[in-house]
């Protein structure tokens, strides 16, 4: 009898303690989750802002400085207006087609108009931050990618036609590719059981190959600028381009390290790889120039930096500093040869070298990712036993190189075919090339009724 009471006592005490414990755990777990989310969200909001900074003013300045004085506003406006246009398209259907589940090649419309995209994390993509943060971060990628293309048809494309082109290009080329590589169950998504498991941490295929290859197609389709190449069309203000390049470099930390989608050690690792590759590529390009031309140039230095950043993008979350250095050097030299030799050789007018840097650099980086990726850096792929799987060739997974090549081929094909089709549509509907008188006069005055720099007699 007493014993009974005793038993009860024990039971009650025990249960009491359990409850206390449980409760305590409960609260603290929620609180810890919130704290974790705050840290990750802080970094991701910052990264999102940094990636927007890459387009405006970064890319706008980089490109704006490279064109002739009469086209600087028209060129900058192409980047700037995409910040607006793509944002609206993204909210309406872009995000959904890219990241809604659906087919392996394209998403569905479940997230159209951002329905269901709120403060709750989407565990398929980023379990610790609001889905809206993820959606905004990805939006900034969708803004800069088409903007990169504009470097190829600079100084000669109709503004109206450019808007139509970009709308179609985003829909037909970018969204499917983004879905295949990063979307849930995407055809090329190594982390979501894709048929062809490719590794593309921050957009070697989705961003750089797609834009670079489309740029080449545009350059070929629109043809050369009046007077090219006989007339020397040199940058009207390299200082602007230097500012732009620096902002691209800094913004790229958001681009690559942000692609870890958390303020984690992986983010830091991507940060390191990004910076090291940019540095190595800068030196690579400068040395190549110095040897071949006897002089290192400012334009070479900033172009090299961008080339390195492009090439490391797909690899940034998978490689250690050493390989990042090698990728950087390779990118610097290869891209230098692309813009100084290959372009001259074939004579196409890739006006601001969007293909020479992004197309070539992106392809190089995508393939080298298959070589240098290692699970020492990224253990995201696990076997049933939870053991991290080997990633690249140096991890003992030679097949990855093949998969990377498949990813590259699919990207090239989609970009090339898609772009040619879109150009034909735009040409039929609006015409793609400005009238020669306007080209002579310059886009700023002809299309926008403005001059960048006012003529104003100086006075004392």
């Amino acid at each position: 009898m007493r014993i009974k009471r005793l038993r009860l006592t024990i039971a009650s005490v025990a249960s009491l303690l359990f409850c206390g414990l449980a409760a305590a755990q409960g609260t603290s777990e929620a609180a810890v989750k919130a704290a974790q989310s705050a840290g990750d969200n802080a970094w991701m909001l910052t990264s999102t802002a940094l990636v927007l900074l890459m387009t405006g003013p970064g890319l706008a300045l980089f490109y704006g400085g490279l064109v002739r004085k009469k086209n600087v506003l028209g060129t900058m406006l192409q980047s700037f207006v995409l910040m607006a246009l793509v944002t609206v398209l993204w909210v309406i259907f872009g995000y959904s087609l890219a990241f809604g589940e659906g087919l392996p090649v394209i998403g569905n419309l479940r997230y159209a108009l951002f329905s269901g995209v709120g403060g709750v994390p989407n565990p398929d993509y980023a379990p610790t931050i609001p889905q809206q943060t993820f959606a905004m971060f990805q939006l900034m990628f969708a803004i800069i990618t088409p903007a990169l293309i504009s470097g190829a048809f600079a100084e000669r494309m109709k503004f109206s036609s450019m808007l139509l082109f970009m709308t179609l290009w985003l829909t037909i080329v970018y969204l499917p590719l983004a879905h295949m590589v990063w979307g849930k169950a995407g055809l090329l998504n190594a982390f979501s059981g894709g048929r062809f498991p490719c590794l593309d941490f921050a957009g070697g295929t989705v961003v750089h190959i797609s834009s670079g290859v489309s740029a080449l197609v545009c350059a070929l389709y629109l043809g050369k600028r009046k007077g090219y190449p006989s007339e020397l069309m040199k940058p009207h203000n390299l200082v602007l381009s230097v500012i732009g390049a620096c902002l691209l470099w800094v913004g790229w930390f958001g681009f690559n390290a942000g692609s870890a989608l958390a303020a984690s050690a992986l983010a830091t690792s991507a940060f390191v790889a990004t910076h090291v590759a940019a540095a190595a590529a800068t030196l690579g390009w400068l040395v190549a120039e110095w040897i071949m031309l006897g002089k290192p140039t400012m334009l070479g230095a900033i172009s090299g930096a961008v080339a390195g950043l492009v090439a490391i993008t797909p690899a940034s979350g998978f490689v250690t500093p050493g390989p990042a250095l090698l990728i950087g050097i390779a990118a610097g030299v290869v891209c230098f040869l692309m813009v100084s030799k290959v372009k001259q050789r074939f004579g196409y007018d890739d006006s601001l070298d969007a293909f020479g840097v992004h197309g070539a650099g992106g392809t190089l980086g995508a393939i080298l990712t298959g070589v240098f990726a290692t699970n020492l850096v990224n253990d995201g792929l696990k076997d049933s036993a939870g053991k991290a799987l080997p990633l690249g060739l140096i991890d003992g997974n030679p097949m990855q190189v093949a998969y990377q090549c498949i990813g590259v081929l699919i990207s090239w094909a989609l970009a090339a075919v898609g772009t040619i089709v879109i150009l034909k549509i735009c040409d039929a509907v609006l015409g793609v090339r400005v009238d020669p008188v306007h080209e002579e006069q310059g886009l700023d005055l002809a299309l926008h009724g403005e001059e960048a720099y006012a003529f104003e007699p100086e006075r004392s």
Binding site: P457, E458, R459, S460
Partner: protein, 113 residues
């Protein structure tokens, strides 16, 4: 006979001068941004705690080619529009033009102006 009138004026007088010339039916002219050096003391600039006298002042140079019989009228209009009365107002120089040709249609002489 055709003359060339070169006038060096204060930049901020440009609009008034253009007006005055239009008023007397002179439309054709070429304008140059130049730097002038003369009696006028330049403004002082400050750099790193030092004051510097700038001795090359921004000026505007107008070149007007016109029939000789219009020169006095043009000069007068110029002078009145450009004058402030203080040092630095500038100068007018007149010289001869042997031939004038309009590129568009090869008009020559006074027809070309």
């Amino acid at each position: 006979m055709i003359k060339k009138i070169e006038a060096i004026i204060q930049p901020f007088k440009l609009d008034e001068v253009k007006e005055a010339l239009r008023a007397i039916g002179v439309d054709g002219m070429t304008i140059l941004e130049v730097r002038g050096h003369g009696r006028q003391r330049g403004h002082t600039e400050i750099y790193r705690g030092q004051e510097y006298q700038v001795d090359l002042l921004p000026k505007i140079k107008l070149e007007i080619v016109a029939p000789h019989n219009r020169v006095e009228q043009i000069a007068t209009a110029l002078i009145h529009a450009a004058r402030t009365g203080s040092i630095g107002d500038g100068k007018i120089f007149v010289s001869d033009i042997a031939e004038a040709i309009r590129i568009r249609n090869e008009d020559r002489g006074e027809d070309a102006l």
